[in-house]
Amino acid sequence: MIKNKILEKSIWALWLGLLALPFMGKKAGILAIAILLVILLLPLLNGLIARFGISVSRLNFLSSSANWLKTNKKMALLILFSFAAILPLFMNRYFVDVAVLCGIYIVLALGLNVIVGLTGLLALGYIAFYAVGAYCYALLWTHYHINFWLALPIGTALAGVFGVLLGSPVLRLRGDYLAIVTLGFGEITRIVLNNWDELTRGPNGILGIARPSIGDFIIKQPIHYYYLILAFVVLTIFITTRLEHSRIGRAWVAIREDEVAAAACGVNVTLMKLLAFATGAAFAGLGGVFFAGKMIFVSPESFTFMESVMVLCMVVLGGMGSIPGVILGAIALIILPEALRQFQFYRLLMFGGAMALMMIIRPQGLIPSQRRKMELEEENG
């Protein structure tokens, strides 16, 4: 029995080596041996991890603190927030800059989470709204000298309007078709940005956007941006949480769970979907305006299909519909490639492999969504 398993694993390793042969030449042999070693030693490693895991779980302060976190949610949030607030003081600017990027993507991912995670509409062209926000500020500044703070609501609203415009013709499509059409819209947006030279200056992009400022203080250093984006992240979390636990959020989730039943409960499905699209798009617009203010330069290269895919990955990897999950997903997907930077060439190779592996091990995401339990004592009394 055990022999059979080893044989099977050897065959797999050999097979994979054979497949790599045309590309790797003689090195394929080494690969085959490496794969064999890894899959043979994996059970051993698993055992080690399990033992390590047990010893970790024996540290009961961990489990008790987990319990404490569950019961003192507000306190936990406060601690988390203060941690986030003092974090950059101990980090260098590269780290802070990466953190700022994380912040932007958290906003984007939470916005997409409204569309994909809560309402269950698969959108693949989400980055178009981000582009709308970024170009909105870039153009408003270069043409009319409208400052960051004024551009912020305008860009957000404009992206929301775009969401509705895009949403209204396509919302009657379902599932994969909706995904494909939004993908098409996303690509069209990018192509238009790249080609409408008169307005967007095409591939040259728009340079010389003003940095945001408060009074005379110009936001310039990564750490300044960090606190600004932290504020936006908190705002986004606040709004999405409130929405999720409101009548509207319930309607969204109901549509995700069962559109027909939701309609039968009196939910205006089209309206609610449009609202979800608009809300999600608005957050992307917010992120976009910030992005323009941070880069002080926008060009179509920042709004490729791959970006949409990355944001979607954050949502799915983190756990669809789960706000903490999505945040963790965004952080992981920004930090992972950065952490792998030392591997240079291999970093995307590892990233791709890790993504596939992660889905196989944990298809429901890092922190799957959980519904809120209600305290019903007072109503009972």
């Binding site: 309607a251 109901a254 069962d258 039968a264 939910v267 339990k373 019903l376 109503e379």
Partner: protein, 253 residues
Amino acid sequence: MMLEVKSVSKSFGGLKALDAIDLSIHNKKIVGLIGPNGAGKTTLFNCITGMNPPTTGRIIFKGSIDLVGKRPDEIARLGMARTFQNIRLFSDMTALENVMVGRHCRSKTGLVGAIIRSKATVIEEMKIVKKGVELLKFVELMDYANELAKNLPYGLQRRLEIARALATEPVLLFLDEPAAGMNPQEIFDLMQLIRMIRDRGITVILIEHHMKVVMGICEMIVVLNYGIKIAEGSADEIKNNPKVIEAYLGKEE
């Protein structure tokens, strides 16, 4: 007169699923809709509740409102609710939340209200929870309020679906095979529940295969076969109607 169905027909492709159905439903009654599989019962429900509008014919609600062409959510708001043959709960929401979704069309908090959580919103939300709790108690599901709908036992899921439908404050309630898959005790409880719903002033129309249920609680029974109404009347009348017996047991050689 609560609801009048006037020569409603529905075809799918070439197949006539409903053929010129006429039906009148009176206030505060329990009406049974029976017939063999594929007789067109659920199709009729779908026509009335706007899920799948009829090909021809009119459906008049409360004597004046024509339902044909209205969206399901509009119809729900007018006061009609339904359950589904193959239970369509929001499975990843808690039982209480399921019922709260039912309150959607009776509340009106908007985007801004939800975000700033104004006083009106808080009050409305409290009312929604209160109503939800009241309905969960009504269907005796209070112990499961925080359970995810998908984790409830089958029979309770059926009851939850009824509670959710009731949350929309209907005057007319459509139940599609509410007793399917239930054990005798559950069926007995269900019959009690349906009577209680009727006593709240709600007219109930149900599709059911459990004849015990239909014969036991329905004040009026309508029989469909091959998309045609073949009989209408009280339980006893139906039981002895040769057309009905033939439809169910088949013709003898």
